[in-house]
């Protein structure tokens, strides 16, 4: 009876009503997907295309095939700007990862219940909420050779002064340290939330088995923090390869271009007084994108693996 009634009802309904479960998702998706395609997905392919042209952004574009990539190769071989940027990007990637253990360390230090601990946690998190431009400025003054806090403190122990941002040997490390400050705060908050979720029974069981300190941390706590570690890893890698604000604010790539990274070099080539070389800039961006793509593929692959377990 019920089935027959349903059938009658179905026929009287419009086509839209009958198919709404198939159509609805596309209607919900349409605005978001279209927007995203136009502003994010298509531009990626356009950049690939632009990298094959010599173009100043205004006049006629001239097709030159892979010549820009050839130029990049020679810059690499001659240890010129492209080589320096690539090398610095690698440094950023490696050193930025220090934010993960540092964040874990601070999280362990703060994971207590004493009076006012909530406020302490928030204040430790502070650097992440401030814009990178301001953090960059703050650290520029911190490093300042005449009055900076760093040199004042070095003076106390009879060292210095050193001009961190004016010295080719130190400049990249100095900027990375500034970047590590907010990034460590981010990792810290991820681990604090993770530590909250650690199973207390396993800790008790570990204590009964005489696991203490490092052993407890390594064999019982860290495995349970895996989701937090994964996110910390993702955001740190992305952050390292996106580093632009710090360099733009602190050194403008200097001294003598020694603190450039690909993200900044690309901007410099395409949109600064040195001339509007859109094609060459796009070629640099493509290289940066391909580096990032390795990581993106890995992230998506691990998400896909987790997905199969779920609904």
């Amino acid at each position: 009876m019920a089935v027959a009634a349903d059938a009658v009802q179905l026929e009287t309904r419009s086509w839209f009503h009958r198919n709404q479960q198939a159509i609805a998702p596309w209607l919900f998706l349409a605005p978001g997907v279209l927007f995203f395609l136009f502003y994010v997905i298509f531009p990626i392919f356009q950049s690939f295309n632009i990298s094959l042209y010599e173009w100043d952004g205004l006049g006629e574009a001239e097709f030159i095939g892979l010549r820009h990539y050839e130029d990049l190769y020679w810059e690499f071989a001659d240890r010129d700007a492209f080589f320096v940027s690539l090398k610095n990007n690698l440094l950023w990637l490696l050193l930025y990862l220090l934010a993960i253990p540092a964040g874990l360390f601070i999280a362990l230090f703060l994971n207590q219940t004493v009076v006012g601990i909530r406020l302490y946690k928030s204040l430790f998190f502070f650097p992440f909420v401030i814009s990178q431009v301001v953090v960059g400025l703050v650290f520029t003054w911190f490093y300042d050779p005449t009055f900076g806090l760093l040199n004042t403190m070095l003076g106390w122990v009879g060292l210095g002064p050193i001009n961190v941002l004016g010295d080719e040997r130190f400049v990249t490390y100095g900027i990375i340290l500034a970047g590590l400050w907010p990034q460590t705060a981010y990792c810290m908050i991820l681990y604090l939330t993770g530590l909250n979720a650690v199973d207390p029974e396993q800790i008790e069981a570990g204590r009964l088995d005489n696991a203490k300190g490092w052993k407890m941390l390594w064999y019982i706590i860290i495995p349970q923090l895996k989701p937090a570690t994964f996110i910390a890893f993702v955001v740190t890698i992305i952050g390292a390869l996106r580093s632009f604000d710090f360099i733009a604010v602190m050194t403008q790539g200097g001294p003598f271009g020694s603190s450039r990274v690909l993200a900044f070099y690309m901007f410099e080539v395409a949109l600064s007084e040195y001339g509007f070389r859109m094609g060459y800039g796009a070629a640099i961006a493509v290289v940066l994108f391909l580096i990032m793509l390795c990581f993106i593929a890995y992230f998506l692959w691990s998400m896909y693996r987790d997905q199969k377990g779920g609904r």
Partner: protein, 282 residues
């Protein structure tokens, strides 16, 4: 709890910990405290070399009122508001819909569309820079707040979709099935069943996107130029050019630029942290 609760340890260690906390915090925030101190000093202290000593006079009110009354700072701040607030609304609205579609419905392209959003969210900005700048120029929106807002909405939709979809997946699916059995139309399920449950997710995303957009610098430099449309992150650099070597004013300006997201964070801390962990660390 790990490490072992401090209450269970010896009295001396408890006291050590309690004194260690403020000292560690002082070191951690030293660069910021330095700027805060700078911002209440008079100009004279910098010319006489009294950088770290006690301020000869307290000029906090003077310095900050200069920032607000004699510079373009208020304008930049207002621009930031006009860029950030519409972006938050737009991105959250779009991602509620995309998140709903990807979280509830089963169809072949589902996972691929989801991965498109996630992957797009991770790409370096530079690969988008030249085409997006061009597109904005073609639309006649270069150097306007609208141009910046449109791009931000589109880009943030990637991250927001990831977040919303994961959140909606965790809701009890029986609710939706029950509504369907009752013959409730799909858009009504979205609006009356799912939306009320998404409030915490919407709050978390709104705070997070607010800070992301407020702190954006790259796109502000690429898509806008002057005081009429640039947000405060870009404005602070021209402000500093104007007051070169006037460290007391530059410090006050930096603090003013940094305050809105900080205030947002302290007011809505719980939501903020829920947002950062992407719901993955439950």
């Amino acid at each position: 709890m790990f490490p072992a609760p401090i209450a269970r340890s010896s009295r001396t260690w408890q006291i050590t910990y309690q004194t260690l906390l403020p000292i560690a915090l002082l070191f951690w925030l030293a660069p910021l405290i330095a700027v805060a101190v700078f911002s209440i000093k008079p100009d004279a202290d910098f010319t006489t070399g009294n950088y770290w000593g006690w301020p000869s006079t307290f000029e906090g009110i003077n310095n900050y009122s200069k920032v607000f009354l004699e510079s373009d700072m208020p304008r930049y701040l207002w621009n930031s508001v006009l860029i950030t607030v519409p972006t938050v609304f737009g991105a959250v609205a779009l991602s509620c819909m995309t998140g709903f579609a990807l979280g509830i419905y089963k169809f072949k392209a589902n996972l691929w569309i989801f991965f498109m959003f996630v992957a797009g969210n991770f790409v370096p900005f530079q690969i988008l820079m030249v085409p997006v700048r061009d597109l904005t120029l073609d639309l006649g929106l270069y150097n306007t707040k609208t141009g910046l807002v449109l791009f931000h909405i589109a880009f943030q939709t990637g991250f927001c979709t990831l977040f919303m979809r994961n959140f909606i997946r965790a809701l009890p699916f029986e609710l939706i099935e029950a509504a369907r059995v009752e013959g409730v139309a799909e858009w009504r399920i979205f609006w009356f069943v799912v939306m009320p449950l998404m409030r915490p997710a919407i709050a978390a995303l709104a705070v997070l996107i607010f800070t992301f957009i407020w702190n954006d610098y790259f796109w502000a430099v690429v898509l806008t130029q002057g005081a009429e449309s640039q947000p405060v992150t870009a404005g602070i650099t021209s402000f500093n050019a104007q007051y070169r070597a006037a460290y007391h004013l530059m410090s006050a300006g930096s603090i003013v630029a940094a305050i809105p997201p900080v205030a947002m964070f302290f007011l809505l801390q719980k939501h903020f942290i829920a947002g950062l962990t992407l719901g993955a660390v439950k």
